[in-house]
Symmetry: C2
Amino acid sequence: MVGTISGEELAQKQKEISISEFFEKNKHLLGFDNPTKALLIVVKEAVDNSLDACCEAGILPRIKVSVKNISEDVFRVTVEDNGPGIPKQSIGRTFGKFLYGSKFHRLVQQRGQQGIGITGSVLYSQLTTSKPLKVWSKTNSGKTYFAKLTIDVIKNEPDILEDGYVTGRDEIKEHGTRISLDIVGRYRKTQSVDDYLMQTAISNPFAWIIYNAPDGRKIEYKRATDKLPKLPNEIKPHPYGVELGIFLRMLKTTKSKTILNFLTNEFSSVGSVTAKKACELTRIKLNAKPNLIENSLAAKLLKNLQSMNIQRPPLDCLSPIGEKELKKGLKKQYPNAEFIATETRPPEVYRGNPFEVEIGIVYDQSLPKNEPAKLMRFANRAPLLYQQSACSIFKSVVNTEWKRYGLEHRKGSMPIGQCVIVVHICSVWVPFVSEGKEAIASYPIIIKEIKLGLQQCARKLSLYIAGKRREYQQQRRMEMFQRYASEIEESLSKLTGRPVSEIKSEFEKLINSRTKIRKVEKEDGSDE
Amino acid sequence: MVGTISGEELAQKQKEISISEFFEKNKHLLGFDNPTKALLIVVKEAVDNSLDACCEAGILPRIKVSVKNISEDVFRVTVEDNGPGIPKQSIGRTFGKFLYGSKFHRLVQQRGQQGIGITGSVLYSQLTTSKPLKVWSKTNSGKTYFAKLTIDVIKNEPDILEDGYVTGRDEIKEHGTRISLDIVGRYRKTQSVDDYLMQTAISNPFAWIIYNAPDGRKIEYKRATDKLPKLPNEIKPHPYGVELGIFLRMLKTTKSKTILNFLTNEFSSVGSVTAKKACELTRIKLNAKPNLIENSLAAKLLKNLQSMNIQRPPLDCLSPIGEKELKKGLKKQYPNAEFIATETRPPEVYRGNPFEVEIGIVYDQSLPKNEPAKLMRFANRAPLLYQQSACSIFKSVVNTEWKRYGLEHRKGSMPIGQCVIVVHICSVWVPFVSEGKEAIASYPIIIKEIKLGLQQCARKLSLYIAGKRREYQQQRRMEMFQRYASEIEESLSKLTGRPVSEIKSEFEKLINSRTKIRKVEKEDGSDE
């Protein structure tokens, strides 16, 4: 025998692991796998939270982001918003406890989903610099509250080191939240904070973002619109997306007294006709008590429900950017663009969850030539900057037949051209492939919707490109014509006996009229 | 204003989320994203646990796996081992509580790491079929204990529905554990349970595995060796791999009375010379109390330690398969192989964690021609079947210059040839890219080690292939020679005046001697 450990001894080594410890050891799961990415994630989680809070409270967001290099590899990230603020008693757990939040148990389109993001940043900060989070917050009702806190990793609870009210320089004007974190990071200009904020401005054209970069630059993204997006509605789960285990738990914990009420009250799109039919099929009485229904019978009931033709969930729970707003955002970012097309697809449903796809294509001759088009990916208005090749957006783009639409393209890679391709997916539950929220899982219906949207936009682009090509060819023909004009004029003059000057002026009229035709053609083909 | 929610109202919606709820909603993070993969994962987690338990207890494993299709899309997975068994009082939490286990807090090479795997399978089972886990277990000291349990998802605690002792048919003979789970799954022959068990037999040649497949086949993998691998040692963390946050917590919770003792007792490779030097550099007294050292000073101490030249951690904590054992395992699986080379690299260290790479290459002309070589990936002896392209093993293989070694190859894809390429990484902490444990993160030192190992093996392969090619060319030349032999014989007979028969026999001698030379060459080139 090599080892001599008994089952009892093995069991004694077993121990509970807190979720904080888990993420501390597995910080790469939250995206903290290198200092460059870490800096981006800390900014992103803070800004996403600010935008969510402002939108939910109906406040036009004004967000100040500052990233300072305070020593060698240490950066101080400060993010301040004009949101509703966080009440004193909630601050600790909001920032210092994993798996705590308002978003997990609701089906509603938001940037945050799981109650992990910002706590992950606080954890990373204390892991790398051991400095506490500083947070200032002011709600409508009060003064500016200030706290310093860390996470007690073993307990997964916040540890408030210092708190109180502040006045003077640090005070928050109306209402809002300011946080400040010191982290080990690395700053670079591309695929990091700068790109993230620029793209955030595109997908949130109602947000005013002021950014102080580590190199001293101050960049301001002003609002492209003063209209806040429609507040997305919360919805109930749809029977198609509910798993048996969850259905059984709902039956046990419901407040509904009868199965009929349970089905019609707690699900999307289940009316009393559907509910009655499902119960009859399963031979359950309509007034049966939900918590007394046996598991095997409940399983049949769910199966019957799922095999019935039930309406899709209500789709007003989604809040897309909108074709016009997206175009405005892109125009602000690409003022030299010759052509911009945007497209909002009708909502669709994956596993009972509504989602919607939006596409934008920018054609801009000031972009570098003969290079792959730039791809911008967004999920619930938040830019995705990493794990591109694992993302269903990327897969859909590289598998679209771009050659058909006038772009150079080899299947499996990005098309070549002076283009920016924008894809936005909004959903009550975006299926990310990891907690890092960097890539979207490849559900066939999601891929299909993205492709359809891309094709619609690409068709407009191809018309534009074809128009440009036609224009170019006409130009060439005209130049050719003009080159031989004097000879032709002379010959015509000899043949007709009319003076050369007269023929010349006829010629010029002809050329001018052709140019006009071209102009008209161009205006028709454009996408305004 | 679009919405009218105040900070207070927002805060009231906040709620705690249990880790079980989290994984229930995010089951794709555990790999449960489709029924085929789900079936594999349930088998894998159970078998990995059985192998870990047997090895730790010094028992030669005998594992019975049965997968039965009990209705439409429901499969019953039963796995029984002859391990040390699990004591009654530990059974609930082992199977019914996430983030609970013996492996998380120790740095030791094992298949399981986090206390998530098997609980994920129980969760998936209750989510899809609502059937409880059935578990039977017998330790050295007792009778066969039986329990039926589910997970209370809201509390993240086991819920034992029924338990007691059993006799008769269900009894476990000596000692061991048997579990049975009903899940929604899909069975297919490739890249699933069959492949997983075949590969497990290769990387665990000391295990005896009996498999009853859903289609009625019974497959038995007998032991290729009766020698259990050396039991890997547990090690302490190495200063290079410790982050500041964790270092501070260690200082606060240590039982050591002085900083000198703390450094020398709680870390790998820190002797008193190193510890003293680090303290002097930081201006900390050697007898300072660890829990009284200020954070900023502690930060300096760690930085100083990390900038010093400290020995690598002890490497006897690793338990590779071994060149001979790996070759035995491969020979059993590929009895027609003409050539097998294996290689165990010396241990290396990433971020303070020791790891070791092993490579095997099989050349077998019974494998299909003109197809990409087959890649088998292993981490701590467990086969990895999914997410190949995200894995540093795959990246290393496709970026090796296989053309140099005689295989057809386009960079970025697998080489073409009748080969199987095997890569095994063992470590006290395998850096997986997700909890699904499907792919290994791309640390440069890990990629480098895999490449070096591949090159070493590939060099042997190329000698073999070159030998075969030479042999083939000589054969061709000889055939050419023989084709014209009769004419040459006649001409020689005329020239020399000796009879044709005499010349013929000389010729035959010559041909035979050349064949002998070839045979000797071949034996030299082989890898025995």
